[in-house]
């Protein structure tokens, strides 16, 4: 297996005269968890679709698992697992039948598949639901089954498009544990997500994309260090504007108002906090800068689409 699991150069996809993916370069190393972040419509799913060879790039070069894509996509997909943005489990089949059927698409024999089933069910935490039909499963269970399904062929690379969207906190925790488990097995992961805490927690490297271009790419701590002051104080309450004019603008390195909340970014927050102590009517939250701050700074705070 090559050390570079994905290598893309100038990868582009146009629909009509709209460049949905606009010349991106990717180097994803073996064993990494690589996060693709971006607002709705940024081109994440389209990028993943090109990676699995289900749409031809309009321009650029792409190698996945050492094979040129889309030219050798079928061979490449033998080593790939995919969790699509929207579950496409077979509603006519039970949990086990879904796994078996998907295994058959990889040419896995029935006996071999049956030997793999217990581990896959355990991974999905669905041991007690082996014969349940899909409609009996909760959203979280379906998502876990889709993840287990992506592992039927013991892939080297797993691509997950928004694996935790729409799940409750407990369900997300379990999925995070499973993703770590996969990383522990030496698999490479590529995931997209709209949850910055999830990306910050799981990903070794992150690319923030917008309008089909990669804005920045680095490890989460490096991104935070390079783009944002280390301390953030979020303030809201009566007469916020007045306080902002008189104190915040002088005491913070940078302030930004989003809706009714004032974000104050500081190298040193002590003076600002002292001022807030003098204004007890204002509510505030003091925290360290995180990936979401980077994301909002780079992609803008206005609503998309």
């Amino acid at each position: 297996m090559p050390d570079l699991i994905v290598r893309a150069r100038g990868l582009s996809k146009r629909y009509g005269d709209k460049a949905v993916v606009d010349g991106i370069d990717l180097n994803i190393e073996r064993g990494q968890c690589f996060g693709l972040l971006g607002p709705n419509g940024a081109g994440k799913t389209t990028t993943l679709k090109m990676l699995l060879g289900n749409t031809s790039p309009s321009a650029g070069e792409l190698t996945v698992l050492g094979l040129p894509v889309p030219a050798q996509a079928r061979r490449m997909r033998e080593r790939l697992g995919i969790v699509p943005q929207f579950d496409n489990l077979d509603p006519d089949f039970s949990v086990v039948e879904n796994l078996r059927t998907y295994g058959s698409f990889f040419g896995i024999k029935r006996r071999e598949m049956d030997a793999r089933l217990p581990a896959l069910l355990a991974f999905a935490a669905l041991e007690g639901k082996a014969d349940a039909s899909i409609s009996e499963l909760s959203g979280g269970m379906q998502r876990r089954l889709t993840m287990a399904r992506a592992l039927v062929n013991d892939p080297d690379l797993v691509i997950l498009d928004e694996p935790t969207t729409g799940l409750d906190p407990q369900a997300r925790q379990l999925i995070w544990r499973r993703l770590r488990q996969l990383l522990g097995q030496g698999k490479t992961l590529i995931l997209t997500t709209h949850y910055m805490d999830e990306a910050e927690r799981l990903c070794d490297r992150i690319a923030i994309v917008d309008r089909g271009r990669i804005l920045v790419e680095d490890s989460p701590p490096a991104l935070i260090r390079q783009h944002i002051e280390p301390q953030v104080v979020e303030v809201y309450g009566p007469q916020l504007e007045v306080w902002c004019e008189e104190f915040a603008q002088a005491l913070a390195s940078r302030v930004e108002q989003v809706g009714e909340t004032l974000f104050c970014y500081c190298e040193d927050e002590t003076a600002l906090l002292r001022s807030l102590a003098d204004h007890p009517a204002l509510h505030f939250l003091h925290r360290r800068a995180n990936l979401e701050d980077v994301f909002l700074k780079l992609t803008g705070k206005e609503l998309r689409e």
Binding site: Y15, R75, R77, E97, Y102, F105, N153
Partner: protein, 257 residues
């Protein structure tokens, strides 16, 4: 020019998936695919047959049985290739899952077409048993109807997939039924030989695949002569293979963008 389909054995799991779903829902499916043609056969064969007596020198029900076999093969495959296939393509995204595995649309379409042939074979088998019990068949040649049912199913299944590939919704299928399947059902010799139809209609009927299916099956199931088999089969193969190729081209255009 689009490339020719790449044939591989990967069609088998596609076909097998459909077999397994069918086994779960075999009851209602069989009632639809077998019950309806059977009612046509019995009601028209005995009811109408009592008035008209013979058709092409055969008892009407004997004449009709071979036609119903063909139209049932056509309908079974057409419904499967339209409604069921559209559900797998669009609603359930079953095909999307398949082409994320090491399969291509060529494999998927081949598996689907062979499944549609299989489903026609199943419903025709059931009808054939009934005709046998009613004493409407007296030749061993009739067993060749089974491979014919499979061929007819594949041919109409592939044609239906072409329509599915370009359909924006289920409603679109009505065009295909009204403009092609229903006229074919009525004019291809299922109920009566097309001899008395206007010349132009007769000529048009000769271009329809069902006409050729009926010609072969009637020769196999009755005493009427079995003629021009190669020609009839060629027409079915021509429609089937062209539709198979076109369905792949159109589905790639739709799903792999």
């Amino acid at each position: 020019m689009m490339p020719l389909p790449q044939i591989s054995r990967r069609w088998i799991p596609v076909w097998w998936r459909n077999v397994n779903v069918w086994r779960k829902l075999a009851g209602p499916s069989l009632v639809g695919n077998f019950g309806e043609p059977l009612f046509y056969l019995l009601a028209l064969g005995y009811g109408l047959g009592g008035f008209i007596g013979e058709m092409s020198a055969l008892p009407y029900i004997v004449f009709l049985a071979s036609g119903i076999v063909c139209s049932s093969a056509m309908n079974t495959a057409t419904f499967e290739g339209l409604y069921s296939a559209y559900t797998r393509m669009k609603v359930q995204e079953t095909w999307g899952g398949m082409i994320s595995a090491p399969m291509t649309l060529d494999d998927v379409v081949l598996g689907e077409v062979i499944w549609m042939g299989t489903k026609s074979l199943i419903s025709v088998s059931a009808i054939l048993v009934v005709t046998l019990l009613l004493g409407l068949i007296d030749s061993w040649l009739a067993f060749w109807v089974l491979p014919m049912a499979f061929l007819i199913g594949c041919c109409f299944g592939a044609m239906a997939l072409v329509v599915t590939a370009i359909s924006p919704s289920y409603d679109f299928f009505l065009y295909y039924f009204t403009l092609l399947i229903t006229p074919m059902f009525l004019l291809s010799g299922v109920f009566f030989p097309p001899d008395n139809l206007p010349q132009a209609v007769q000529f048009a009927a000769q271009l329809l695949p069902l006409t050729h299916a009926v010609a072969v099956v009637r020769g196999l199931m009755t005493e009427l002569a079995l003629e021009n088999v190669l020609l009839h089969l060629s027409v079915l193969f021509f429609y089937g293979l062209t539709a198979y190729w076109l369905a792949i081209v159109l589905l790639k255009r739709r799903l792999l963008v």
